[in-house]
């Protein structure tokens, strides 16, 4: 054994390391990531490649981050998702969040507002299927009045509005545009993001447009935004839905990127120029408590997306940036021993920040029980703010860059994800995957394997399969009064009573005609929807001719 290690070569040290562990090394259980990739107990310089070490933040392929100095110039956007009740309740909440210091880049206001399920699905408050769902897990906004109240007093240019819509994506933007116009301002002042999430039906058991028409609708919105609201981000790729449905982080990468590629393909097929629209695509991604795997995922994601955009013909580096909003995984939260979730959320946020993402929503610890209380929601925001201001995390860009382990894991995840991605592309792409159901089947299988590991205890979950207690917690979550249903119905009736019915019927008939024109490839739909919104049509009413035209499909 050597006496003075400091003068020894790497080889000699490695030899000594091997000797020290020889007695027990066989007995160590081989580790693996959530995605099933092997993990060693120790990583060395042998695990990194020159190309890993040659990268710089803010430079293609952006593995180390989108910006040259990371968060030093401006921190990530705090984009807390919220929305409940009618627009009045949600307005109060918006003002409260601003008061609490929630802000975006350079102090801009950011409202990441979720619609309730009836709005997303496209039914108004008086539909029987809306019962029990109105204003519950999102805001119910379906009339011009609602949108006027939404933007009341906003400075449109410094307010970023992300609309978490569902199938009502186009009607919702049309209603917003009409409200902006009523204020006497041009569409071009609109800043924000449409959650144009149609392709999520590849993984979620909800009905939506027939695949072909779903893509046609995405591109219709992209084109309208390009011509009318150039600062509006018309498409968001909802990788969060993929991981929450049960995909492993590697599957989330592969399917999410294939989803993005399918939209690029649809845009190119519609004759758009790569540099005109690819840079407007953005992502929402999930984040579990597996810190290093998540960091590696975000790094691999940026690198892979940059390559996909470049291959698709984007030439400007700014059009190759994977702009990522992280929504911390809600699935990992447990109803058992509720406060434990604050620990999980902190780790998730840590992973997102170390991964260098652009924007973060932190779940509240009580989301495993219901809608967050004001206090739990604030604590979730404060968790971000503690990481932002107390932890020193934002001083250095990509602080894990060059870590033997993280660089290797980034490479491994990238390779594993390309393998799945290439398979999908060879089989006809993501859209085909919606039609055949194969993506859903693969994710369902992963989800089940994971659950079996939790059931058997192989995958520890504190409070669920370890350190279990059976005391009742009787936590009282936030309640949205059932009277919201009557209130929403009354608002709807009042709105309908004040409009010109004949004009609304005519405008909706034009929507029907425009739907057919879109299908024929001879016209676009968005202008007709904006006209219908001007005339006073509601969210649910605009969805009727759309559903008739574009079908209703569930991926098998």
């Amino acid at each position: 054994m050597s006496q003075d290690v400091s003068t020894d070569s790497f080889e000699a040290r490695k030899h000594e390391w091997e000797q020290r562990r020889a007695r027990y090394a066989d007995k160590l259980r081989p580790g693996k990531t959530l995605s099933g990739l092997p993990v060693k107990t120790v990583y060395t310089k042998e695990d990194v490649t020159d190309s890993d070490l040659d990268e710089m933040p803010g430079v293609y392929p952006f593995t180390r981050g989108l910006y040259p100095d990371g968060y030093a110039l401006t921190p990530w956007m705090q984009q807390m998702v919220f929305g409940y009740g009618t627009i009045e309740e949600t307005r109060q909440k918006m003002e409260k969040m601003v008061e609490e210091g929630m802000e975006g880049y350079f102090g801009h206001k950011v409202f990441n507002t979720v619609y309730d399920i009836p709005c997303m699905y496209g039914i108004d408050a008086d539909d029987p299927e809306a019962v029990g769902n109105l204003g519950q897990c999102g805001v119910h906004m379906s009339t011009g009045d609602d949108y006027d109240e939404l933007i009341r007093g906003w400075d449109l240019e410094s307010t970023n509005f992300s609309m978490i819509t569902g199938d009502n994506c186009l009607p919702a933007l049309a209603l917003l545009a009409a409200a902006v116009e009523r204020r006497g301002e041009p569409f071009s002042k609109m800043h924000g993001n449409s959650m144009n999430w149609y392709p999520r039906i590849a993984v979620q058991d909800v009905p939506s447009w027939e695949p072909k028409w779903g893509y046609a609708l995405i591109i219709d919105l992209v084109k309208w935004a390009m011509e009318n609201a150039p600062d509006w981000n018309p498409v968001n790729i909802f990788m969060y839905g993929i991981s929450e449905a049960g995909a492993t982080p590697v599957q989330e990468l592969a399917y999410g990127l294939a989803w993005g590629k399918s939209i690029i393909d649809a845009g190119l097929a519609a004759g758009l120029a790569p540099d005109d629209f690819i840079g407007r695509l953005s992502f929402q991604i999930g984040c579990t408590v597996n810190v290093f795997e998540e960091v590696a995922k975000f790094r691999a994601h940026r690198r892979m997306w940059a390559k996909i955009c470049k291959d698709a013909g984007a030439t400007k580096p700014s059009n190759m940036l994977a702009r990522v909003h992280v929504h911390t995984s809600g699935y990992v939260l447990t109803q058992q021993q509720l406060l434990n979730n604050t620990g999980r959320i902190t780790l998730q946020t840590l992973a997102a920040v170390l991964g260098g993402v652009a924007s973060i929503h932190t779940c509240s610890y009580d989301e495993a029980v219901g809608v967050p209380t004001e206090e739990s929601h604030r604590t979730a925001l404060r968790t971000q703010q503690i990481l932002m201001w107390e932890s020193g995390l934002r001083e250095v860009a990509d602080p894990l860059g060059g870590s033997y382990f993280v660089e290797q894991l980034t490479d491994d995840m990238e390779a594993a994800a390309w393998e799945i991605y290439d398979e999908i592309e060879a089989a006809g792409g993501y859209q085909r995957g919606i039609e055949t159901g194969e993506i859903k089947r693969a994710i369902d299988n992963s989800s089940y394997e994971l659950k079996k590991m939790v059931n058997s205890g192989e995958l520890p979950v504190v409070g669920v399969n370890r350190y279990v207690t059976d005391e009742q917690e009787n936590y009282e979550p936030f309640r949205i009064d059932e009277s919201i249903e009557e209130k929403a119905k009354a608002r709807l009736q009042d709105y309908r009573a004040r409009r010109d019915e004949t004009a609304v019927r005519a405008a909706l008939e034009n929507v029907r005609v425009a739907c057919e024109a879109l299908k024929e490839g001879t016209g676009s739909l968005m202008p007709a929807l904006v006209d219908a919104a001007r005339a006073g049509a509601t969210n649910g009413e605009m969805m009727v001719p759309m559903r008739d035209a574009f079908g209703w499909f569930v991926s098998e």
Binding site: P207, E435, E556
Partner: protein, 326 residues
Amino acid sequence: MTSSAPGTSELVVSDSVRHAARLITQIENGVPAARAVLAELLPHCGSAQLVGITGPPGAGKSTLTASLIKELRSQGRSVGVIAVDPSSPFSMGALLGDRDRMLEAASGDPGVFIRSLASRGVPGGLAAAVNDVVDVMDAMGKDVVIVETVGVGQGELEIAKIAHTVVLVFVPGYGDALQAMKAGITEIADVVAVNKGDLAEASRAVQELRGQDYVRHDPTADRTWVVPVQKVSALRNEGIAELVGLIDDHYRFTAQSAWRSEIERNRRHAQFMAFVTERLRAELASIDLDAFDAGWLRDPYAAAEEFVTEIVKARADRGAVGLAAK
């Protein structure tokens, strides 16, 4: 045999979903009381048109069935659906997901009765049960009864034979699917539906299949039915009305000879065989072999042959046709 609760058959005939559904459960579980009710239902059977839908996994059978339901309902015809899914050979449990895909076609419509059945892995048993369930839906007054099964294995072929018209569904472009299907077409298909007709491969597959000139020979007359190949998109509701038209054409075709009554005769034959088999098995289980023939242990084959011969002879002696007279 115990008799069932009075009135069950009347309730089924008067379209009581609750009683029909319970009777179907009894049939599935082989409850003897169900037989008596089924016997009472028979006079009310025979007017339903029976359609079998089969094909490989992933062919979109449930979605196609949903489209057929919509089309038939729009023509004012009531529909019963029997959707069979395989049981897990390990746990004997089953995931029955077909109903879910028919939701939009059937919700809240009293003219549609959908029942999911697990195959439960009993060879022959499933076909017998499905046959009886068809009678229940027939007696309820359903104009069309659709039996949907995964077309793999002998058991499913048996089920397909229950139908007046068997529709074989498949999707082009899945490797050897077409080749594998060709064997199925010659064996069972009366109508072929090429689903997901919006795919480019679909037109090619349709052309290739039409070029084969598949025919089915009328087992009762010297004439043939040319198996039509229809391109459909269950998703887009395209080709569905045409498919229903072809199914009806075939149904009428079978009525022009004894073919139709031959199919019905086969169903009753299968029911007879299933019941005899089940009854004999139960009787045999209670036989004390030692009391019957001391020699069975030395030569079970000879003892068995003698046993069966005796039964057949007993029937022949009193003038009945023996089992051996087939």
